[in-house]
């Protein structure tokens, strides 16, 4: 029995080649052990592909406790197993993750226990913009974990900033846009600009330093940091950690204004408020002023109208009391009340006068503002449009009425022409039998002596038939 299991291919290959089996007598036949073949394949692969570059998408990325990284590289139709030892992994600037498109450098080898060939990577790099994107994602994840983006940490903008800080380049469009908007909408603004570079090596450090400085200037209550639009590379400084940190530690609210609506930068995420463009940032600061001045005006009006109502109530009461003076015996008390009321009325009137002066001034300002909006002309335009519509409507109705009336007339005419009365009007007559149930159409229907009735256009005649012809 034992020699049945003593299979030839488990023996030494040298022995096998020297002793060919009788059924397959080919002299060139050589049988390897699996290991032998695998080793050969491995040697061959390692020799032929000792340094290759291969690109593909990472998937099944797993970091083992040993510190080695295992993954699969794939494209639309093939897979390649890969691994990267801890020693090489140390030098990577990004963290490999599923779905990343990478270029791998390494040598091909075979993992003998599984008979799988694989690439042993010495270096991996993300392809295209992937590198920046990756750095972005990774910084974002880290800062998020630290809580730098927490909504709870976002501070409201000051109602009325005494000074507005701006950190940006003096050469870009951003500063001009900001100043233009501020000049147009917030005449008496005080701006402190900290000029910095906003792109290129070292820009992030400059921006961060500028931010740390400007927040210390007395009375700067809010800071705009940003630049105009550009490519992802141009905006990169706003994705770097020093800028994020400087924004995060700012004691005053920071508005980020990186001119690129679609890409959110790290600075945007850390800032208290994100404006899509520098102009928008300036508008955010200015809008607050207008909002508040309107609010004060409304509060003031309510205050004054409360006071006025109070005065009116008071004088009514004084009136009533004086009317009752003769009846009631409280002359002294009433006199005192009257005096008190008079005093208070005077005090109120004085206050009201002051208030009216202030209010009138506000009203004038508001009116000027309204004028600026040219509301009047707009209203007039709308009214003219309305009048036009009205006239058109009326014309339409009148025209339709005319048409309806004309059609009615035509119908009436046709009805008339069908009416027997119209025929009678032309001199014809209708003869009826005696009981007026039938019109007589045939002379044979009557006999001499019958009474018949003749209907004329006007009136009718009863007649006797004297003869039938």
């Amino acid at each position: 029995m034992s020699d049945l299991f003593d299979l030839p291919f488990e023996e030494d290959p040298e022995t096998l080649t020297t002793e060919p089996e009788p059924e397959a007598p080919a002299p060139t036949r050589r049988i390897f052990t699996v290991t032998e073949l695998t080793v050969r394949v491995r040697d061959h692969l390692e020799e032929r592909f000792f340094e290759v570059w291969v690109e593909g998408e990472l998937s099944g990325v797993r970091l083992y406790n040993s510190g080695h990284l295992y993954f699969t590289l794939k494209d639309s139709s093939s897979l390649l197993k890969g691994l990267m030892f801890r020693s090489a992994l140390r030098y990577l600037k990004f963290k490999p993750a599923d779905g990343l498109h990478v270029v791998a450098r390494g040598k091909l080898s075979v993992y003998e226990p599984k008979g799988e060939y694989q690439i042993v990577c010495e270096h991996l790099e993300p392809q295209g913009l992937g590198g920046l994107q990756l750095a972005f994602d990774q910084l974002k994840t880290r800062l998020q974990a630290e809580g730098l983006f927490d909504i709870a940490k976002k501070r409201p903008l000051p109602a009325l900033p005494r000074k507005i800080g701006v950190v940006t380049s003096l050469d870009g469009a951003a500063i001009r846009d900001i100043l233009k908007v501020l000049r147009r909408r917030y005449r008496n603004v005080h701006v402190v600009i900290r000029p910095t570079r906003v792109q290129g090596e070292g820009a992030a450090a400059e921006i961060a330093h500028g931010l740390r400085q400007i927040v210390k200037v007395p009375h700067v209550d809010v800071v705009i940091v940003g630049r105009g639009g550009g490519s992802l590379e141009d905006l990169w400084a706003f994705n770097e950690e020093p800028v994020a940190r400087a924004i995060a530690i700012s004691p005053i609210p920071v508005i980020s204004a990186v001119g690129h609506e679609s890409d959110v930068t790290i600075a945007d995420l850390v800032a208290d408020v994100r404006a899509p463009t520098p102009s928008a940032a300036a508008e955010l600061v200015v809008a607050r002023k207008e909002e508040f001045s309107g609010r004060i005006d409304r509060l003031h009006e309510r205050l004054v109208s409360c006071a006025r109502a109070r005065v009116q109530r008071l004088s009514r009461r004084v009136h009533e009391l004086s009317g009752r003076r003769a009846l009631a015996g409280y002359t002294t008390r009433l006199a005192m009340t009257q005096r008190r009321a008079d005093e208070l009325t005077r005090a109120l009137t004085d206050s009201l006068r002051t208030a009216f002066t202030v209010r009138t001034r506000r009203l004038q300002v508001t009116e000027r503002r309204l004028d600026a909006f040219d509301l009047g002309r707009r209203l007039a335009r709308n009214r003219a449009a309305l009048v036009g519509v009205d006239a058109r409507l009326r014309q339409t109705v009148v025209a339709r009425t005319h048409r309806a009336r004309a059609r009615l007339g035509a119908f009436a005419g046709r009805l008339d022409s069908l009416s027997p009365l119209a025929v009678l009007a032309r001199g014809y007559a209708v003869c009826w039998n005696d009981d007026r149930t039938r019109a007589i159409r045939d002379a044979a229907d009557v006999s001499a002596g019958d009474t018949i009735h003749v209907t004329l256009s006007r009136g009718s005649i009863a007649a006797k038939v004297s003869d039938v012809e």
């Binding site: 000051p158 109602a159 009325l160 005494r162 003096l170 500063i175 001009r176 100043l179 233009k180 000049r183 005449r187 008496n188 603004v189 005080h190 701006v191 402190v192 600009i193 900290r194 000029p195 330093h209 500028g210 400085q213 400007i214 210390k216 200037v217 002023k289 508040f292 001045s293 609010r295 004060i296 509060l299 003031h300 309510r302 205050l303 409360c306 006071a307 109070r310 008071l314 208070l344 005090a347 109120l348 206050s351 002051t354 208030a355 202030v358 506000r362």
Partner: protein, 84 residues
């Protein structure tokens, strides 16, 4: 008596908040005449203060240097340049 530098008013935000609560109290009524009057007067003071604060800053543009020094911005930048 009720100048914008009234030291009973902390700042603009506080003034607005106080003004709002005063108006609310007055509108709710139920106050003695003296109380109403006092509130009214305080309200007028606050409202004046707020308006003054809105208008009192002067238009100014300054540059902050790397060494932390402030100097006026060139006229061309500030947009007051008539050629712009």
């Amino acid at each position: 008596m009720s100048s914008p530098s009234d030291n009973t008013i902390r700042d603009f935000e506080a003034a607005i908040a106080e003004l709002e609560s005063i108006v609310k109290k007055l509108e709710d009524g139920d106050l003695s005449l003296e109380q109403s009057l006092a509130l009214y007067e305080r309200g007028v003071t606050l409202s004046k203060f707020c308006h003054a604060r809105l208008e009192d800053a002067e238009r100014r543009i300054e540059l902050l240097s790397e060494r932390g020094e402030l100097r006026p911005a060139p006229a061309g930048l500030s947009g007051d340049d008539p050629n712009r």
